[in-house]
């Protein structure tokens, strides 16, 4: 059976990808941020995962308001970068692990989660940036297949934090019941604190962000029990997307070992956090 080698959490701020595109990695503004990911990249190289399940949200680049799935699972053979206004970014397309995508859909529906099934879609910075941060940008092809899980965290009503944690537990069971020898990582993406709209734009909360990076490892049940309003209030309007980390955390064992953790503020307008966890 397949197995989970770890859970990764990271922000997915578009400016991170833009900084890489513009060759700003080693500038004083960005170097401390990117250097924080070096140990995580070493961890990924050592663990050699075959499949990355990436929990993220499309930011109205591939999906419009005409149809808003609360949960969607990618079952596509490949995912190309979407044009977010500046043209598609010059990174290789992502190969999909469609066999696991379908197994995940089957397992979710058997457990009373009913996702939209996606056969053809492009992916935005929400998936691109985490992949670049943990794997580095490859010259030709990514060394890992992906299965995207899209979560609506923008159009209200967004799902309850507790519901995402429960979905993560089913995801963990789906991986462990998948008939293959593949090594899986699960990525929870988004956040941490930031707000892009309204007079409270520019809100960040470093203290709460650092607390979150502790609690996601050691007290996820508390975070799952928070209301959506608490997330918006504590982490900002767009910071509420942090609830997607609960899917990743739910897929892991109740106790985890934290291998790496990093925090940097501000990346553009965001408190940027990262964590690498392993099952016990």
């Amino acid at each position: 059976m397949a197995r989970i080698v770890g859970g990764l959490g990271t922000s997915h701020v578009p400016s991170i990808g833009a900084a890489l595109d513009k060759g700003l990695r080693d500038t004083p503004e960005w170097k401390p941020f990117f250097d924080g990911y070096v140990p995580a990249q070493e961890w990924v190289r050592e663990q050699r995962p075959d499949v990355a399940v990436v929990v993220f949200n499309d930011h109205f680049n591939a999906l419009f308001l005409d149809r808003v799935p609360t949960f969607a699972v990618g079952c596509a053979p490949e995912y190309h970068p979407v044009d977010e206004g500046w043209g598609p970014r010059a990174i290789p397309p992502f190969e999909g692990a469609a066999d696991f995508g379908w197994h995940l859909v089957d397992t979710l529906v058997d457990n009373h989660f009913d996702p939209e099934i996606i056969q053809e879609i492009k992916v935005d910075h929400g998936l691109q940036v985490p992949m670049e941060l943990f794997w580095g940008r490859p010259p030709e092809a990514w060394p890992v297949k992906v299965v995207p899980i899209f979560v609506n965290v923008l159009q209200y009503p967004i799902p309850l934090p507790d519901r995402l944690y429960a979905l993560g537990k089913v995801l963990g069971r789906a991986i462990e019941s998948h008939d293959s020898d593949e090594r899986f990582v699960v990525l929870g993406t988004g956040g941490l604190s930031h707000q892009l709209q309204g007079a409270r734009a520019g809100f960040v909360n470093p203290e709460a962000d650092r607390r979150f990076l502790e609690d996601i490892a050691h007290d996820p049940g508390k975070l799952a029990g928070w209301s959506r309003e608490q997330y918006v209030e504590t982490f900002g309007g767009e910071g509420a997307e942090l609830i997607m980390w609960l899917v990743m955390r739910g897929a892991l064992t109740p106790e985890v070992v934290v291998r790496h953790r990093h925090y940097f503020v501000p990346a553009s307008m965001t408190g940027a956090g990262m964590i690498v966890m392993e099952n016990t």
């Binding site: 109205f60 979407v82 206004g85 709209q197 309204g198 007079a199 520019g202």
Partner: protein, 115 residues
């Protein structure tokens, strides 16, 4: 949550009311993900806006790059940010505009940057 989402002050969330109100403006901005539409926007912006049936109020907000007003009218940042791909402006400037602050104060006082 629905209509209760605005209980958090100065934090507009994309609830049912905003979704309906901002649908045209957001659809117009979504179109800028297509290079042909970006060219049309650059060539004749009012004509491009008319294609999506924007009201005079909505057109004025877009044409004057009044970000706070676009958001007030239901525009969502993830859509209207695409305007900055055609007519470059930093996201922190859009933030400062909505916060009613000059850019340097916004970077320093909101984001904690050393400026």
């Amino acid at each position: 949550m629905g209509g209760e989402a605005d209980r958090i002050p100065d934090t507009p969330l994309l609830d049912r009311e905003r979704r309906l109100r901002g649908y045209r403006i957001n659809k117009m901005a979504m179109g800028l993900g297509d290079p042909a539409n970006r060219a049309a926007f650059q060539a004749d912006e009012p004509a491009y806006l008319d294609r999506f049936g924007l009201s005079d109020e909505e057109k004025a907000a877009v044409l004057s790059r009044d970000w706070s007003e676009m958001v007030r009218l239901g525009g969502n940042l993830f859509f209207i940010l695409k305007i900055s791909a055609v007519d470059p402006v930093r996201i922190t400037e859009i933030g400062a505009h909505q916060a009613g602050m000059d850019h340097e104060s916004f970077l320093r006082d909101r984001l904690g940057k050393k400026v």
